[in-house]
């Protein structure tokens, strides 16, 4: 056991890798399961001569890093899955201009939606859309190594590199081997923006030249990927049973290895560290001697589709299995993989009924099913914390809204409005959408609408929606639950707090002043402890002809406790 080995969380390993690569500019927006990356940088930035910020949303976070890259600073951007939707508007042109100093963008998906509303998004598709190289680590050791590799690739090809992780990678712990690294320069070093219109401006007709350059660049990166050690073939020691091989990516690789051990099988495995561009030659070489290939990837069948096209073009006869056996819904595990392998090889495997049910169809094989006991307990749903000021606010909303009122839900702790005992949520989409959709309902019906949103979400995406509602003469009621912090993701600073991600003082932005300058006429800030005032104001504002806003302001109970302990 070397002294350079420590048990690390995947997200901690990414921070370590980035530090070693010499990152000096970090931006992001907190989300689960990526938040610990930005949290950690916030804590260690100063002592390491790094600038780190929690940005207002993922789009500005990426743009801040683009500015840093163009000025010569190595940058890292962190976000959860949906963050890439928000920043995509600037992500695509970034592929065209390329980076100047290297940049790694970490995107954390959440298969099985453990901590995500919205959708079970598989963000890998963005690599195809944007033409940005994407790496997929399987465990914390690879998180560390692939982060460093990402910076290397970015430096070599002047392209941003996306590091795509998932919940079971980001929140996986294992002993990680790392280099004893001491940062020499512990003072933040500024760069310089050197003007270069041709390089940084996507004005036509230059934009189409840029596209050509980008496609040529991707061809070169493909050659690089062919030789890269992170796309590795593991050959079996003996003959291959059933001439079956497996191509695996991300955490699915770990489940494959575990399943092979369980079934006592020794099969060839191609582990893909690159998701984009795929090493086509290596894949062809791997498939050629095989009769059957199983593609082990979580959620969407991106790799499977690519390989099926490749096999057809190259006239490879191997039968390709993938989402015909493994579900597109939810994360994978070793049991699902073992079952899939047993099915393809037609070997007997005793599995549990529960997992058999996840297979799309079952072979003619008979499965014995060991008994798994179900507790049949009702779910213990997530709830507001005890002492949370939202209890009071939700109760006031419920009490004062007339029958038939439509309640718009939003992202953050406030989305718990949708569960018992509150049950005040009629739709839930994405950051800021409670106002946007509420405005549409207001314009289309005579029904009353209350959009319920937290402070962090208001700053993130609520403001344009509010302006739209005022400008287009809606009269919905916007109810802001201002608990003075971005709480759900683990207490991150936001513009309402007067503190930055590095803990420095900054201007405290007041939601009521923003609303006033957006043209909202009816504005009231109320401490939800003053329950009666809250109720009366709600009744009053619900009868207005213009947009109204109530800011229910009281500090998050967890934050209050934390401040007490400090």
């Amino acid at each position: 056991m070397g002294k350079n080995k420590k048990v690390l969380l995947g997200n901690e390993a990414i921070v370590k890798g980035a530090l070693e690569a010499g990152v000096s500019f970090v931006s992001g927006y907190p989300g689960c399961p990526s938040a610990e990356i930005g949290d950690e940088f916030g804590k260690i930035a100063k002592e390491n001569g790094i600038y780190a910020e929690w940005s207002v949303n993922e789009k500005v976070a990426l743009e801040a890093a683009i500015g840093a890259s163009f000025s010569g600073l190595k940058s890292l951007v962190n976000m959860k899955s949906f963050g890439i939707n928000v920043c995509s508007d600037s992500l695509f042109p970034l592929a065209y201009t390329g980076t100047k100093a290297p940049m790694v963008i970490v995107v954390a998906d959440d298969p099985s939606c453990w901590s995500s509303a919205q959708t079970e998004q598989d963000s890998r598709g963005y690599a195809f859309l944007s033409h940005i190289p994407m790496l997929e680590p399987a465990d914390p050791q690879e998180c560390y190594e692939f982060t460093k590799l990402g910076f290397e690739i970015s430096e070599k090809f002047n392209t941003p590199v996306i590091l795509r992780i998932t919940t079971r990678v980001a929140h996986q712990r294992m002993p990680v081997q790392f280099e004893n690294f001491k940062k020499e320069n512990r003072v933040f070093q500024k760069g310089e923006f050197i003007k270069d219109y041709k390089r940084f401006s996507t004005m036509p007709p230059r934009v189409l030249e840029m596209k050509k350059e980008l496609l040529e660049k991707i061809e070169k990166i493909k050659q690089y990927a062919e030789k890269s050690k992170v796309n590795k073939i593991e050959s079996p020691r003996g003959p291959t049973p059933g001439k079956l091989g497996i191509i695996a990516s991300g955490v699915a690789y770990l489940h494959v290895k575990e399943a092979l051990e369980k079934l006592n099988l020794d099969l060839p495995v191609l582990k893909l560290g690159f998701f984009y561009p795929l090493p086509e030659k290596k894949i062809k070489e791997f498939i050629k001697p095989l009769k059957k290939v199983l593609i082990a990837e979580e959620v969407d069948p991106y790799i499977e589709k690519e390989i099926k096209i490749l096999a057809k073009d190259e006239n490879l006869k191997a039968e390709i299995f993938g989402k015909d056996i493994l579900s597109e819904i939810g994360e994978l595990n070793q049991e699902k993989l073992a079952l899939a392998l047993a099915k393809i090889l037609e070997i007997k495997y005793i599995a549990t009924l529960e997992y058999i049910a996840t297979l799309k169809y079952i072979a003619t094989l008979e499965y014995k099913t060991p008994k798994i006991i179900d507790s049949n307990l009702p779910n213990r749903h997530p709830q507001l914390c005890s002492g949370c000021p939202y209890w009071l606010a939700f109760s006031a909303i419920k009490k004062s809204a007339p029958e038939g009122t439509i309640f718009g839900g939003d992202i953050g702790c406030n989305m718990l409005a949708g569960v018992s005992p509150h049950n005040i949520q009629d739709y839930l989409f994405s950051m800021g959408s409670s106002i946007g959709i509420g405005h549409g309902i207001k314009k289309s019906t005579n029904q009353k609408v209350i959009a319920i949103m937290g402070d962090g979400t208001f700053f993130h995406a609520g403001i344009p929606a509010l302006i739209n509602a005022v400008y287009n003469k809606s009269n919905l009621l916007v109810f802001i639950l201002d608990n003075r912090i971005t709480a759900m993701t683990g207490l991150q600073q936001n513009p309402g707090m007067g503190k930055t991600g590095m803990g420095e003082d900054s201007p405290m932005l007041k939601i009521e002043e923003i609303a006033a300058s957006c043209g909202v006429k009816n504005i009231k800030v109320i401490d939800p402890v003053n329950f009666k005032e809250l109720e009366n104001t709600m009744k009053d504002f619900l009868s207005k002809d213009e947009v109204s806003i109530i800011i229910s302001r009281r500090i998050c109970a967890l934050l209050a406790k934390k401040q007490q302990n400090e």
Partner: protein, 191 residues
Amino acid sequence: MNKTFNIIIVGVGGQGLITLNNIIARAAFYEGYDVKTSELHGLSQRVGSVETHIRFGKKVYSPLVINGTADLVLGLEITEGLRAVKFLNPKTVFVVNNNYISFMENISKKEIEEKIKLPVGSNLRLILASEICKKELGKEVVSSIYLLGYCIFKNLIPLKPDSVLKAIKETMPEKYLELNKKAFNLANSND
């Protein structure tokens, strides 16, 4: 130890599952084992059911414990302990804090106790960890460390007390260290 040792920790968000998970992972690492864990953060942490997975042995790939394959289930709360019977096989030991955090549904503690005794049988150890810690140390919050101590001193987790204590020292903030060490060792003196 030839086989990988599989632990499931269950409880309610906010009970310190992730800290416990981290301590066990570090202790296993100090003893030279390969170890993988998996945990959940965010929405699932808000007073909902939480479950963390720990696996250690010679070589571990997947961080997940499959239903029916746990060697030990450590329940920080009894309803959540009951929920974890899906991980049970005839050899699985259940160490459960006999402490009930009620939720929306109207089920009595007695009912839960009966329900968990049925499938787990003689492998169930219901421990009054919260009560003992409150009485002996004046703090209920360290009951999870007490339970960990119980598992270690009763050889229900194949790790040495010294490595766990070292991991506790590495993981806990300085000002809570003494209290946690006391809670851990208390399980050795209490029978």
